[in-house]
Amino acid sequence: MTAAATRSTAHSIVEASPRTKAFAGGLVILYAVITILPLLWIVATAFKSQSDAIAYPPKVIFEPTLEGYVNLFTVRTRQTPDFIAKLPPPETWYDKLVRKRDMVIAGPSKVVPRFVNSLIIGFGSTFLAVFLGTLAAYAFSRFRIPLADDLLFFILSTRMMPPVAVAIPIYLMYRQLNLTDTRLGMILLYTAVNVSLAVWLLKGFIDEIPREYEEAALVDGYTRLQALRKVVLPQAVTGIAATAIFCLIFSWNEYAFAVLLTSGEAQTMPPFIPFIIGEGGQDWPAVAAATTLFVVPIVMFTVLLRKHLLRGITFGAVRK
């Protein structure tokens, strides 16, 4: 049988009826609405004025304003109208916007440093977890390791309780080690939580790659490390991408440890966003603006890696 014939038979599944297709399509649309609507609402709220944001019944059509974003990025002080009248005319559009509310800008808010913290801690811990996870998974997959099963179970067992259950011991430990409120501390913590997931996920993917590939490369002149880098990794890309997305989502969204262990220097976005509510009344548009910004990197990361997620790992290379 030729390769083409094999392929055609592999896909000879029963064709779905139009009704089944319509039903399936309906379900997908319903699911999309349920998941996307809240996101759209947040994106919209970020462009509302404070009164529109809490209007009842909720406003779907409203006059868009950038107040939410301005409030998010600045710290403002309330002044008397007399004081504001005496000031020189506003230099920028956002000065003008703020003065309409009887306020002046006192300086930038902390959102940018917090966002940068989130980026460094999120991507840093993801990189470390995937890096360590790949090496460990490769070793578990390819070498005879004494007590391999027990070790794997031990690694998995770290995920058998919610990480927050060990929050207090970790807090005490971090205080001793001076790791509280440091980016390094948060990166290490998230790496530790993610690495077990990474090892398990990646082991599954690497197990799927026939070991003949590296062995062929080993015989042909590569060292073990070169074979891993140039032969195994290109084929594990799918698994690595999926694992990286899972790890990033966890460390990006993590709230409990971030609240407990960071307060200033290393604070990430999740504990920072609730702070915005407190600064100057219930500023929902600013919160929504922060949330929108917060969601963007993870959406971008997922979209960028999407093509790897969809590609088959070893299709056609090995005859099954």
């Binding site: 390769a3 590939y213 062995e215 490369a217 080993l218 084929q235 299709f315 056609g316 090995v318």
Partner: protein, 365 residues
């Protein structure tokens, strides 16, 4: 090209011994097949020669040089895998050129060598194709190309035709042998398929449970099996074994088989009475009314030029290969006559062949 010598090679995994102290030499330019059922240690032996597995004990010498603990890359040998192991992220040309790239050869030279190799395998037109688009046979050719391109000291092949369809396998058998005759490379070929081994190899090592049972030319292992295992494993249908009890005297030309005397090749060893087996290939059986062993025809399998007739005798079921023109009725009682010169005797306890005129000097592993 090279001579490969294996000395007392042993490999165990935890409790399990995969290969037990085998010693043999594969001469330069030989097509050497390692044949045996799965789990017999043939692949492990091959992987140790390749350096993909380290032996627990013993030595591997390539052209006299001890390479037992050398890295795979340092041995200058090529390995062809059953699943081809073509890199899916490279096209055919890149796959074939990969070993040269590993060695850091200049790009122009790589291109020339790849072209030359592809011409030899008649796959020049495929060089820029994706490996996923190829048929099984072409994939195998690419895998061979990747092995040949480096001009290694030896080729190691692990069931390279195992993943092919029967007809393709036959075709590739011919191509492989032809290729070997042209480049005269020492080749170690692992297979569980006796037809592949018999049709291609100069020498066959029959392995069982980690041991080499016999090494010899295809004719030797077929005609003069060193053990019951070899006799049973090689040949289709396998050799018939008729059990009996008796003693043997050197120089005798007949044995007491139950109530009769059966002519056998001259016996070359003395033996006290023990359970023995008379081995007879199906093609060395004739139907004759005067035959010493009688039985009832159980069934017949038509194969074109010959037919395999199974006969139930008092000593077990026996398969005979007869011309397809012979008329056979199921249920009929017939006599069986054996070709005395081709009979073999085995000691059931050890499974070893009894030394006779015809089975003398066969090489054990």
């Amino acid at each position: 090209m090279a001579q490969i010598r294996i000395e007392n090679l042993r490999k165990s995994f935890d409790q399990f011994t995969a290969v037990e102290g085998s010693t043999f030499t594969i001469d330069d330019g030989t097509f050497f097949a390692m044949l045996g059922p799965s789990g017999c240690g043939k692949t492990t032996t091959l992987r140790m020669i390749a350096g993909l597995e380290l032996p627990t004990e013993g030595k591997i010498l390539l052209d006299g040089e001890d390479v037992t603990f050398h890295r795979a890359a340092a041995r200058d040998i090529a390995f062809v895998f059953q699943l081809f192991a073509l890199y899916p992220h490279m096209n055919v040309g890149e796959n074939i050129g990969f070993p040269l790239k590993c060695q850091g050869m200049a790009r122009r030279e790589i291109r020339e060598r790849v072209q030359e190799t592809a011409r030899m395998l008649r796959i020049e037109h495929l060089l820029s194709s994706k490996t996923s688009k190829l048929s099984g046979g072409d994939r195998q050719r690419v895998a061979l190309g990747r092995a040949m391109v480096r001009r290694p000291k030896a080729f190691l092949m692990d069931e390279p035709l195992g993943a092919l369809d029967a007809e393709f396998r036959h075709l590739m058998c011919g191509e492989l042998r032809d290729l070997h005759d042209r480049i005269k490379a020492t080749t170690v070929y692992v297979t569980h398929d006796q037809l592949e081994a018999m049709s291609m190899a100069d020498q066959i090592a029959v392995m069982n449970k980690g041991r080499v049972e016999q090494i010899g030319t295809p004719q030797e292992v077929y005609d003069r099996p060193a053990s019951m295992f070899v006799a049973d494993f090689i040949g289709s249908p396998p050799m018939n074994f008729l059990r009996f009890e008796g003693g043997l005297r050197s120089g005798d030309r007949a044995v007491s088989f139950h109530d009769t005397r059966l002519a056998v090749p001259e016996i070359r060893e003395d033996r006290a009475s023990a359970p023995l087996a008379l081995g007879v290939r199906p093609e060395h059986i004739r139907f004759a009314d005067a035959g010493a062993v009688r039985g009832e025809v159980f069934g017949a399998e038509y194969l074109g030029t010959t037919q395999i007739v199974t006969v139930d005798t008092a000593y077990g079921r026996v398969a005979a290969r007869l011309p397809s023109s012979a008329s056979v009725r199921i249920g009929e009682t017939i006599g069986l006559e054996f070709n005395a010169e081709r009979l073999a005797l085995f000691d059931i306890g050890s499974g070893r062949a009894i030394r006779t005129e015809s089975v003398e000097g066969v090489r054990h592993g």
